[in-house]
Structures are given as C-alpha cells and as structure tokens.
C-alpha cells in the first residue's frame, strides 16, 4: 500500500456517510489536500446500500462489536421452497440504509445541481401517499379537487380541512393563530381550531412524517413540515412533491459525492478507520497526529469525524427492510395527469392500526414502498422500508404492520426476505431533545447541510469569504468546442 504519512494533509475526513461525503464534495474544488477514509470496506457508512450477501456480513458485524449506531439486527428468509426460488441472486438487490425521501424544495437538490454532481444521479418521483384504514388502503387527497370529490369526508370536516390547508401554507404570517399553541400537540390544535375529526388529524400528521403520535407531535415542529409537503408538490412536475435517487437513495449520493472529491484530488481509502488522535502546536500551526487502524500515523491540519459519545436514552427507531413477491402496481399508479411514473410510495399506519398480543401501537408506522424501477430489486418484486419509534414491542408491531398491509393489496404478495434492525441517533442533540435527530428523519433534513457548510468553513478558513459553497462550474469534458467527429469505420 502506498504511503499516506509523507503528506501534511489539510483535512482528514473519517467516514463516508452522507454528511461527510457532502463535505468532501463541498471541498472538491478547494485545492486542499484531502484524505478521506472509512473504517468499512464500502462507501456510505450509516447511509450505505448492500447486496444480500453484504447484508449478511453487516448483520454479523452489527451484532458482534457494534461500534456504530445500529443494534439488534436480525434476518429472516422464506423457507417455502417455491417462494425462495423467487429470491434472486445477491447482487440483484440494493437494499439501502437511507431510503429518506427528498422534498423538491430541499436545498440538497439545489446544491446537487449547483455543484454539478446531479448529472451522475437519477431522481425518481415519490408518488402516492396512502393511509391504511380499518378496512382498506386509502390514497391521500392530492389537492383541493380531490378533497371535494372525497365522499368519505363529511362537509363540516371538508370546510375545516380547507381552512387548515389555506392557513398552513401561510402559517408564518399568522403567528397569532398558532404561537400560543406552539408547544401543544398537533391533534388538539387541529381539533380545537379547525374542528378536524381524529381520522383527518392522522392524515395531517402523516404529512409531517412524525414518528410520535399526533397528540405528542408539537405544533411548532409540524407546521413548517406540512407547509413544506404542500408547497413541494408540482415543483418538478405535477403530482409529486419529493424524489429519491435511483440505486439506493442516500447511498448513491454519498458515492457520487466521494467521486467528486476524488476528481478534485482527494485520496480515498476504505477499510481504514481512525483509532485516536492528538493535536500539538508546531511551526506550521496546530497539527493533529491521526493514528489509523493500519498503524499509519498521518499529520493533518483538520480532522473531521463522528462524535464519539452518543446518548443512550435518546429516541431510537426500529426498522424493517422487506422484499415482497409482487410489483404492487396499484401503489405506484399515476393519480395526476402528466405526472412521472412514481418509483416510491408512502404508506402510513396511524396509531392503533395494528395490535399484537403484548401491546398496542402507540406511535405511527411508515412504510416506504420502492418499486423495481429504483434498481433495488428485480422486476416483479418490491422493497418495503418500514419504520417506527423503538419500543419494547416495535419488532412485533412492524411484523404485524407488514402483514396487515400485504393483506390489503392486490395479488396477496408473499414476504421473501426481512431484515430487522434498530438505529440510534447519530449525535447528541441537546437543543432539540423533543424532536427527531436529522439522521433518523424519514425525509432528508436540511439541518445536515448547515452542518456541512459549517464544517466546510472550518476547513477552508479565511478563503470562505471568496469561495462559494457548493457552486461549481462543469468540469472540462462537458464543453462541446473541440468536439469534432472521429470517423471510426
């Protein structure tokens, strides 16, 4: 292996998760000497994507030493012989730890465009949203006309709903209406101010992707998220308000961002982590000596790594990744004329939709269904990503949720494969103990970009005044000038 310790690095970045990969992208035109390492043999860290064989290895690692924020991983595969035949070869699957949806108004998209790496990504629409009701699967109304036509909503509730939708997209100018209730639960606010019945409270709360029950989801946290949902629809075309990158969501973004880092001269080494570091004052300024897991010691001006300490009592989530033997076509069907074929659909199971012997479902469950168009599974199958807050019985509740959902969709699909795991928040988050850590958010959280920008400023220091964050020209190669034709044959 080539030697890394002869260089004085400007920055050593440890970890190729989404945040640190975006930092590498942000620094890719800075002419800084960058060493980017990851203790894993793959890109993406907590946002990685895996083949089935890689999942096996990951489960083993999580349950062995588990230095990461994952725990209690377990795997189930169908044993029914004709069903197991349907499970394809390992690399036919790309199961992602980061299926977050990205709202069309997220700054992430504009930064991927202005930094030009969007050309290496393919975005697909998050189409229909569904609520799993007592007897059926109901599509969420997609705008006013849908609500008027909806016979399941009585007129009084319709008026309340219209009033709320009009209010929420303008909530910033109507502080007097909600500020006094800012810390109250969303359910009570919707009931007292807009006379919405519980079923519509659930619908509205679903749009926030809150992992808490509507009663304990704060008004001040909800309103911006509902407004974001509504104002995102139509930005990139009719009928959808969010997108997901093909081939594994956040995992794909981090790989493309790391390549941009490499094109800019950054050195990439996988399978090497940071053991320890110490900083000393030297002639060249403050220099950090970084001890790598391959026994190399490298010198750098900056070391960027994940915080070591994690709070143990913070909110964790339970997740299931399931492969099913159906393309679930109706879920992805266009509901609005001219909208692109959706590759992702969101299914919400409000509180108390499923019951298991030991416990009732106290918080909502979300299922993100990914069609084979995402490149994550073969044709004729789908990948379901289910999430809920961790509790003593969340594993059984998620299992029950998948069963109930699959019983409500066409051609009674079978479960072929199921990965269960729990994920803890990435960092201690004192400021927002009441809300969710950005790393566990089901929609990409722009707070991550603020972190990236402040890390970027730390590394480039005074030059930050002149440099522009994430705004780059196209690399050479895109230009069409000396583009004469090579007459081959």
């Amino acid at each position: 292996m080539e030697s890394l310790n002869e260089t004085l690095w400007d920055v050593v970045i440890s970890g190729t998760g989404l945040k640190h990969s975006l930092l590498a992208l942000a620094l890719s035109r800075s002419n800084k000497k960058i060493l980017h390492v990851d203790q894993n043999e793959y890109y993406g860290d907590a946002e990685a994507a895996f083949s089935l064989q890689e999942v096996d290895e990951w489960v083993e690692r999580v349950n062995a030493v588990s230095p990461s924020n994952f725990r209690n991983a377990s795997l189930w595969k169908t044993t029914t012989s004709n069903e197991s035949d349907k499970l394809s070869f390992s690399r036919a699957y790309t199961l992602t730890l980061s299926p977050q949806i990205i709202y069309t108004r997220s700054k992430l998209l504009s930064q991927l465009v202005s930094s030009k790496v969007y050309r290496q990504l393919e975005f697909q629409a998050v189409g229909n949203w569904w609520i799993l009701g007592e007897h059926s699967l109901n599509r969420l109304p997609n705008g006013r006309e849908d609500i008027f036509r909806d016979k399941s909503i009585d007129n009084r509730a319709k008026r309340g709903l219209m009033k709320f939708l009009k209010f929420v997209v303008d909530y910033e100018n109507q502080n007097e209406l909600w500020q006094p209730q800012a810390d109250s639960g969303l359910a009570g606010f919707l009931s007292s101010h807009f006379q919405l019945p519980p079923n519509l409270q659930n619908v509205i709360c679903a749009l926030t992707l809150s992992l808490d029950a509507p009663e304990s989801t704060k008004v001040s946290w909800s309103l911006p998220r509902i407004a974001r949902h509504l104002t995102s629809i139509g930005v990139f075309g009719p009928g959808f308000g969010a997108v997901v990158p093909k081939w594994g969501g956040g995992a794909e973004i981090s790989q493309v961002a790391c390549r941009a880092g490499a094109v800019g001269g950054g050195i990439y080494v996988l399978g090497i982590g940071v053991k320890e570091s110490n900083t000393s004052s030297e002639e060249a300024g403050n220099i950090t000596h970084v001890h790598l897991s391959n026994e190399d010691v490298v010198k750098t001006r900056h070391l960027i790594q994940y915080p070591a300490a994690r709070s143990t009592d913070a909110k964790a989530v339970s997740k299931v990744i399931a492969i099913v033997s159906s393309s679930l076509t109706t879920l992805f069907k266009n509901s609005v004329e001219g909208s692109p074929l959706a590759a992702v659909s969101v299914i919400v199971l409000p509180v108390s939709t499923v019951i298991v012997e030991e416990a009732s479902q106290a918080t909502p469950i979300y299922i993100m269904a990914h069609s084979n168009e995402t490149g994550e599974c073969p044709a004729g199958q789908c990948v379901l990503y289910a999430t809920m807050l961790y509790s003593e019985h969340s594993k059984q509740l998620l299992d029950a949720a998948l069963d109930v959902f699959l019983a409500r969709v066409e051609d009674t699909p079978e479960l072929l494969y199921k990965l269960y795991y729990e994920q803890e928040p990435e960092e201690e988050n004192e400021a927002q103990t009441e809300s969710l850590d950005p790393s566990l958010d089901l929609a990409f959280n722009d707070a991550i970009l603020e972190d990236v920008e402040s890390l970027w400023k730390t590394v480039i220091g005074d030059e930050a005044e002149q440099a522009r964050f994430m705004r780059f020209e196209d690399r050479e190669g895109m230009s069409a000038d000396d583009d004469e034709l090579d007459e081959g044959y």
């Binding site: 390549r259 050479e476 895109m478």
Partner: protein
C-alpha cells in the same frame, strides 16, 4: 446543436491499476496531447466527451476516468452504473499491472450491468526494452475473459490509440439490448429545471 440530441450516448469506463496509462490514453485520444513528464495521478478529469462514428452512424462517447480511486481499489458501485463498455488497461512494461488484471476483471463482473462488453489494452507499447508482458499473453487473457477485443497502444507515439475505442463501440452498438438500457426511463425527474413548472402549491 439540435442534431446532437438525436445522437445516442455510450458510457465507456477506463479501469486498471494505478500508473498503467489510462489517463494518458484518454487524453491522447480525446485531445491528442501527451505529456511524458506527467506521471502523477490524475486530478480534475471527471470524464471526456468524444464523438465517434462507426458504420456511418455517429455516437457520443462519455469516457470516464477512475479519478485516482483505483489507487486503493476504492471505485464505487455507482462508477459502473449504466456503463456499456469497460476498457481495462495494463502496462506492458510492468508485469504486476498485468497480473492485477484478474482482480479488475472480477470487479467488472460483479459491478457492471449484465451484457456490458470489455476490451483489454496493453499500454506503453513503445517501451520495447522494458517489456515484461508478451503480446500473446495479453491476447490470451482477453480471449479467456471474453473480451470483445485486445490491442497494444502507445499514447506517446499515437500508435493504435483510436483502435480500442472504435472497436469497443462497434461491439456495443451490435448489442441493441445494451443500447436501450442506457436511455433514461420515463420515471426520471429532471431536477435542474424545476421552477419552470412554476405553480408550487397544488391545493
């Protein structure tokens, strides 16, 4: 530019060990430049575009370089996405680089889309005095690995620099199923032209 829109784009990757001469070949072919002093790893080359016609039909080649990620074997899966062809390059004056090709072929097999074609290139054929890999050995490996072609090139003397690209494109375009896989599907959302849709809130 209107006519350019109808030209299909082929994605061709360059891979192989560090220092084999991938970038030199790419730059000689695309820009007809060669810098004998430059032996450092490639910086700043993301990809090169080149128009090429075979049998009277024009194609736009999108030629991707490894960006140094081959040095510690850290090319990502995403590098291989949608590639129609892969050019594997070794150095005829460096036997280790030739022996390393087995692992590079394995990496292509596990990452490239089914049906993607491979082409083996022995670079630096002008270095006759330092040659440690025979032409026959390269030819044999290409055959065993099911490559669509093999040749030796010299980016320094220009010898054969067009041959790998012309021949790999000729092989790709004979596989219509491979060509159609590269076209963007109807589900793809263009995220760079957003505000054109205007309306924003639909309710």
């Amino acid at each position: 530019m209107a006519s350019d829109e109808s030209i299909s784009t082929l994605k061709i990757l360059m891979i192989g060990p560090s220092g084999a001469g991938k970038s030199a070949l790419l730059i000689r072919y695309c820009d007809d430049q060669f810098d004998s002093e430059s032996s450092t790893a490639t910086i700043g080359v993301d990809f090169k575009m080149k128009k090429l016609s075979v049998h009277g039909k024009a194609y736009r080649l999108n030629l991707l370089d490894t960006a140094g990620q081959e040095r510690f074997r850290t090319l990502s899966n995403s590098y291989y996405r949608g590639a129609h062809g892969v050019v594997l390059v070794y150095d005829i004056s460096n036997r280790d680089s030739f022996l390393a090709m087995e692992r590079w072929f394995e990496e292509v097999e596990s990452n490239a889309q089914p049906g993607a074609v491979t082409y083996l290139v022995g670079a630096k054929m002008d270095k006759t005095a330092q040659r440690t890999v025979k032409v026959e050995e390269g030819m044999k490996m290409a055959e065993e690995r099911g490559c669509v072609g093999f040749c030796e090139v010299s980016s320094k003397t220009r010898e054969n620099v067009r041959k790998p690209f012309v021949e790999i494109v000729d092989a790709v375009v004979q596989k219509p199923e491979l060509l159609s896989s590269g076209t963007r599907r109807m589900g793809t959302v263009p995220v760079d032209g957003g505000e054109g849709f205007g309306s924003g809130c639909s309710c």
